[in-house]
Symmetry: C2
Subunit: 200 residues, 2 copies
């Protein structure tokens, strides 16, 4: 009932738990981290596909939809990289609050940045997925030709070549893409999600 001097509204606001009930699963972020060419986007899209087939509400945040949109004002300088990760963390948090399983596929090379994001979430909501692949294998794959440019000096501060990658110390999940198939990787992540009762 609205009148001219106040608004009162007695329906409750929809909560994250309400959305979990509607969707039939809990929500979380699968935070993929690893070198360029390690397979982050590939695995993130594969798990998103599998979750969709399970009728789960899921989504992928990656360079394609974030770098040219929300974060298009940011450079690759260290402070802008940190802001890039902070914003992705905050957006992931909104997606988790909305009840979705969101996968993020960004190199996110610094431990402190990833830990900053972890702190935004409740326990079991932030799942760090280390996409582990030796540098020489990533460089051999070089899907976007970036390693070649980095070696030629055309790209400065390239992770793994001229800028550090800090491996996760205790990631929830490790995927070795030079040893496991995509299907095996997806299976490992699905098993984790079931073990944690995120999926039923």
């Amino acid at each position: 009932m609205v009148n001219s001097t106040n608004i009162t509204w007695h329906h409750s606001t929809i909560t994250k738990e309400d959305r979990h009930l509607l969707n039939g699963h809990k929500s979380c972020v699968l935070w993929f981290t690893g070198l360029s060419g390690s397979g982050k986007s590939t695995i993130a899209n594969a798990i998103d596909h599998a979750l969709h087939q399970h009728k789960c509400n899921s989504y992928v945040l990656d360079g394609d939809n974030v770098r040219h949109g929300l974060n298009k004002d940011l450079s690759f300088k260290k402070e802008d990289r940190q802001e890039n990760i902070r914003r992705i963390g905050e957006v992931a948090k909104l997606f988790v609050d909305s009840g979705q399983i969101v996968s993020t596929a960004f190199i996110s090379p610094y431990r402190t940045d990833r830990d900053m994001v972890r702190k935004m979430f409740a326990e079991n909501e932030f799942i760090e997925v280390f996409v582990h692949c030796p540098l020489d294998v990533c460089e051999m794959r070089d899907p976007k030709g970036l390693y070649e440019k980095a070696r030629n000096g055309e790209i400065h501060e390239f992770t793994g070549i001229s800028s550090p990658y800090e491996s996760p110390v205790q990631p929830e999940i490790t995927i070795q893409t030079n040893e496991m198939s995509i299907d095996q990787s997806v299976e490992k992540i699905l098993t984790f999600l079931k073990d944690k009762k995120i999926l039923v």
Copy 2:
């Protein structure tokens, strides 16, 4: 199939249309705009509640979850206000891409800012909802005591008092909260969404 030199993955990436099929409805942004105290958050949460009851995937972006998170680095200066709206638009776009009906509840006083966001979306995806309520009524409601502070000079550049509010010229929907009940407002929006085949 993964080997050490390349990754090939033959599953298709999940599209917005795939998500619409899973959810049983299309996605869009309901962009609520209006003075402080006009009832934007109230109506946005009421439509979100109604959509949830219809088993739709929906979410609300408002000051509570955006200002203290993603946009906590922004002030209320004009250029920061524009960046505030840009980011909200970009996040709304991600939500729409993920298949959800997202409501945004921000004053968004400038026509150029709202039009900048409109341009990010396909036709029928951006629905401007003008929450229309006379200034004197909003000021009488003053739910957060902000008008009083603005009149006292404690808040500078307050929309409607010391900073302009530019009304939408052709909003898709107008809600007059001093004349319509919350239920009537929700009904008007639901009818619009059905007419546009966003809801079936």
